[in-house]
Symmetry: C2
Subunit: 261 residues, 2 copies
DNA sequence: AAGTGGTCTAGACCACGAG
DNA sequence: TCGTGGTCTAGACCACTTT
């Protein structure tokens, strides 16, 4: 299956002309967004194959009955996602395979969004405490001020995978234990109108202490993966600070980086 | 230093009206980009403080002698970077402190862009070899086809930090050993006209083998941080596949995630 | 009611890359 | 030379938030 050279045969997608984009002008969903979604779906389903040209923007806008800026906005959003490439004098083409789903920041979502079927969560601790120095600094509150501490043990298939310790500003959220075990922290935040925007993470490794080993069913000294994270909402306010420890034998971070042009 | 509530006093930046944005219409640099840079600089230097309103887009465009879409494009780019927040009916304001520099994908750049003063690199191996199965799959070449293998030892302050093993498609690059040690892989790629676009990474941990321990000046069984990465250029073509091992006692990944709206 | 950003239009000219 | 995307304009109407 040699796929070495193959100089990106630039064929205009034959299906594109017959592809019917259903644009609903009465819908509250923006036109550029409708178009972007349908293009993305066409790429995902292989209707638009890697290397296919999209046809120039002017023609496309005429055929769709949209203005060129609107079509550009749709295309641009897919370029940002890494699905399309624009080249002056050439055209817009579907990116050369690979790298399908950018994984939606999996490490962040996996951790905050419990749910699913395999993974379960046991809430070990959930109470208000005075903030230690590092917590206070991360959450932007006074040292000794009240914060909520949340300790959870995460398991998959009955086996422990991670120890999660999170701190939240006091009163940010109603942390019902039962819902936490079934719903996950991230969904509870979202349901409370908190929009996550960015997070700063540090990922490292170290040997397990005796207590960690006992809780995670590892031997003392086993390699653990550690992660510290501070998450911010869309106003830049810190909403979560956490220290997580993972069994390296059962867990790894898997994520996609996009280089900003 | 309690900075708890402080309900984001929405004050229009007093300095904004006197801020002189120097827009050069004869410059090849796009106007929206010039504006974005100057806004970013103003935010960075504290001229625009967190929470400050930017003033509405229409006024701003009139005052700058630009059209509204152009001003919007500048603002949007800073919103994407997480420096500004837009709210309907409210306005655009500087994000509420924290999270200044998104670190420019440091883990990727740190690794590829050697240079600097502290870190040095020793090239241990640099030759063409037949691709093993995992390498072939990652780089999209035939199994057994020729690829370039590159093994490097990275040191800071004379101490070993990491073992880097990278595979590149054969003939992609002129890998001059001397330049590799001083310049770094990433810069050499960029100089060859290769534009990095995205990368897929897996970060984990494990205990050091005897050989790794010897090379990294650790004890056998010490916790190591591991990373596998496949990097792609802007056409989606894989340009690098690597397996890296770091001394956990001296290295951690530090990066910023932006949640895509 | 007033003000804000969100979307959309119908043009225009330019710079770059391919042939 | 010609076609492509890159940039820019000067409007318009709408939805949402605050007062």
């Amino acid at each position: 299956m040699a796929r070495t050279g193959d100089p990106a045969r630039a064929v205009t997608a034959p299906a594109l002309s017959t592809l019917d984009f259903a644009l609903d002008r009465s819908s509250p969903v923006p036109l550029y967004y409708q178009l972007a979604q349908q293009l993305e779906s066409a790429i995902e389903h292989g209707v638009l194959a890697p290397g296919n040209l999209l046809g120039n923007e002017v023609d496309l806008s005429v055929r769709l009955g949209l203005s060129r800026p609107t079509v550009r906005q749709a295309i641009q959003s897919l370029v940002d996602k890494g699905l399309l490439v624009r080249r002056r004098g050439v055209g817009t083409q579907v990116v050369h395979s690979q790298v399908k789903r950018p994984l939606e920041l999996s490490s962040l979502y996996d951790d905050l969004e419990a749910a699913g079927q395999g993974p379960t969560t046991r809430v070990v601790r959930n109470e208000g405490v005075p903030a230690q120095a590092d917590v206070a600094a991360a959450l932007g509150v006074a040292e000794g001020g009240e914060v909520t501490v949340l300790e959870r043990l995460r398991l998959t298939h009955g086996q422990p995978v991670a120890l999660l310790c999170n701190y939240l500003p006091a009163g940010l959220l109603d942390l019902d234990g039962a819902r936490l075990e079934s719903t996950g922290l991230y969904r509870m935040m979202r349901a409370s109108g908190i929009t996550l925007h960015s997070a700063r993470q540090t990922v490292g490794a170290r040997a397990a202490t005796g207590e960690e080993a006992a809780r995670l069913d590892e031997k003392e000294g086993a390699a653990l993966l550690t992660m510290q994270r501070t998450a911010y909402d869309d106003t830049g306010r810190p909403v979560e600070y956490g220290t997580h420890v993972y069994r390296a034998s059962r867990y790894a971070f898997d994520f996609q980086l996009l280089v900003r042009g």
